[in-house]
């Protein structure tokens, strides 16, 4: 056995806490035994020992160095096991992997953040970063949507953001049930709250994260509004496995989402076929 850096090795990590967010979404608070800092938008591979690993984007503040939060929807084999995890359990982490949001580029610009569903998780990390550096950006707009009020990730926290002076916030749900009487915000898909935004679209930055269908329509809307291809930042969900551009699973055209993304500007990928599939 010889000591060179092994990119496939997970770092032993303690589950400090498990927070139930919605019916099928939980947030894990994780403490890796070796330091792991990340940039908002980068991702990690989370290992459930003996079960497997899956890619997630941290949802916590990048400034919080020793603890990382990851918000996870139960959708498959690994996430099912993740949802069974309890405080004190051991998991593995690899990363951070890929490229996140280039915050330096966002400086002195107007920023529109559009998120849907589980996409609000990585965006929370970005919002924290924008709040950390409040004042460095001209204006920040946040437009978030979920299926129903019950599915709204971090709802209480996000509703509090509406008190912030450095943020213009609107929320929506696709539909609400009769018992969702406390939902006073918009009802409709996320593009329905993207009108009437007072910003210079031509020079503005847009960040989109959500399910493929939401990303597609939000991007079309942004283009119609006048955003430039190269100013639209998309977080692409592909089957990232090795995380270092070798295993071949997450290829998008001439890129691998894991090492060249997962955050891409629209101009980089718009000519590839089936980017929204």
């Amino acid at each position: 056995m010889c000591k060179i850096d092994n990119p496939y090795r997970p770092i032993e990590t303690e589950v400090l806490d498990v927070i139930k967010e919605t019916l099928n979404i939980k947030t894990l608070c994780l403490k890796p035994k070796e330091p792991m800092t990340f940039v908002a938008g980068q991702f990690i591979e989370l290992t459930v020992p003996g079960v497997g690993e899956a890619p997630f984007t941290p949802s916590s503040n990048p400034l919080t160095k020793d603890i990382m939060e990851v918000t996870i929807m139960k959708v498959g084999k690994v996430t099912e096991k993740i949802h069974e995890l309890k405080k004190g359990d051991t998991v593995g982490l690899r990363g951070p992997l890929g490229r996140g949001y280039p915050i330096e580029v966002f400086k002195d610009r107007e920023i529109l953040v559009v998120g849907g569903g589980c996409g609000l998780a990585p965006l929370r990390s970005l919002m924290y970063e924008l709040f950390n550096r409040s004042g460095e950006f001209k204006k920040v707009f946040y437009r978030g949507g979920c299926k129903t009020p019950k599915d709204f990730l971090y709802r209480k926290e996000i509703e509090k953001w509406s008190e912030r002076k450095d943020l213009n916030l609107r929320l929506t749900v696709d539909k609400k049930d009769k018992d969702d009487t406390d939902w006073k915000e918009n009802v409709g898909v996320v593009t329905t709250i993207m009108d009437g935004i007072d910003m210079d679209f031509k020079n503005g930055i847009a960040v989109v994260c959500g399910p493929p269908i939401a990303m597609k329509y939000a991007t079309m809307k942004l283009l119609n509004m006048g955003f430039r291809d190269e100013n639209i930042y998309l977080s692409m969900e592909k089957n990232m496995s090795c995380g270092i551009g070798k295993c071949g699973h997450c290829r998008i055209g001439t890129y691998y989402a894991c090492k060249d993304g997962p955050v891409f500007t629209y101009d980089k990928i718009k000519n590839f076929h089936g980017i929204w599939d």
Binding site: R9, P49, K77, V78, K238, I244, C247
Partner: protein, 341 residues
């Protein structure tokens, strides 16, 4: 240029056994397979054509442990480096593609690096072509001129031995007692042998109407929405043999298992023809249909790699042609793509 007699070559292989696990091609039925070398035997074929299995198997193993739990040490499995003898030029080109993936990239793969650094490649000229050979169409000659440590060209009573790396040179120097200077006669013999094999491959290409790679520019983009993919995929049974047998296919699957309470992470060769290859846990799958996956395989080889690494990821070895139970023939697909303007 040196000459080594067949007797001395086996003495050299015997000597190499001290530092290496030596692998040589042996003939079984109609095919040639790599076998661990022990002593000279009648089934060893140092010339002839490529083996059944691709060379990549010695560098990116079909199945290997890449992590043991959270242990910081990298779990290298190889006890001794390998000396792989009788490697053909098509497989050496395959290594160029793998080098791009595992070595020359932003991220390096410790397992591949170690194998690449330590393993010895003793290549050899093809002494004839088989029906599926079309290397010349892919810009690959049936004899190695570079990218080996030592190359052997069969000639009267032995081989011409050339070196193309410091490792190869050092080895020849160390064992110089086995070598002598190659004569003009030896070279002449090699020349005519090489020309003869080139002619055979050219005839193959002509007979099978295989397009040359100069005609490949834009064939994928141009045919992206073409019916060719659907037509070709109709017979495909999604076995993935074309992937595993291909000297340039590099995709792998990471999977974890629990072994006596200890977690191990393995990687195994994967196949982009399998339905779930690109599927995400949420259910989205960019390549739901089989024809999309067949197209993807060609896109990777004839669009992705030329764009990112300036190389077509096909070596003309013809392995996928013989391996495919549905008789999907890469030569015919390429012809259709080139002709569809």
């Amino acid at each position: 240029m040196k000459y080594i007699s067949t007797d001395n070559l086996f003495k050299l292989l015997n000597a190499l056994k001290r530092d290496y696990n030596v692998y040589v091609p042996v003939k079984k039925g109609e095919q040639r397979f790599y076998k661990k070398y022990d002593e000279p035997s009648g089934d060893i074929r140092l010339g002839e054509v490529r083996t059944f299995e691709p060379l990549k198997a010695f560098f990116s193993r079909a199945r290997e442990v890449v992590a043991k739990g959270f242990e910081p040490d990298t779990p290298f499995a190889q006890d001794k480096p390998l000396a792989i003898v009788g490697v053909k030029m098509c497989d050496l080109k395959g290594m160029k593609v793998l080098d791009h993936v595992f070595l020359d990239h932003d991220y390096k793969d410790p397992f591949y690096i170690k194998n690449r650094e330590e393993n010895l490649i003793i290549s050899s000229d093809c002494t004839f072509a088989i029906e599926t050979c079309f290397c010349l169409a892919m810009g690959v000659k049936p004899y190695p001129e570079k990218d080996f440590d030592i190359n052997l060209s069969e000639t009267t009573g032995g081989f011409i031995a050339e070196t193309a790396s410091p490792k190869g040179e050092a080895l020849v120097k160390k064992h110089q007692r086995f070598f002598q200077a190659a004569t003009a006669q030896h070279r002449k013999k090699r020349e005519s042998r090489r020309n003869e094999v080139v002619k055979q491959v050219e005839e193959n290409i002509k007979k099978n109407n295989v397009p040359y790679q100069d005609a490949f520019k834009g064939i994928i983009e141009r045919n992206f929405e073409s019916d060719i993919w659907n037509e070709e995929a109709k017979a495909c049974v999604e076995c993935g043999a074309c992937n595993t047998i291909c000297p340039t296919c590099h995709c792998f699957l990471l999977y974890d298992r629990k072994d006596e309470k200890k977690m191990e992470r393995l990687r195994i060769w994967d196949s982009c023809m399998i339905k779930d290859f690109a599927r995400v846990a949420g259910g989205a799958n960019p390549r739901k249909k089989l024809w999309m996956r067949l197209r993807n395989r060609f896109e990777k080889k004839f669009d992705f790699f030329p764009k990112v690494a300036d190389i077509y990821a096909c070596t003309g070895c013809g392995r996928c042609i013989s391996a495919c139970p549905a008789k999907i023939d890469i030569r015919k697909v390429l012809r259709k793509l080139v002709d569809n303007v």
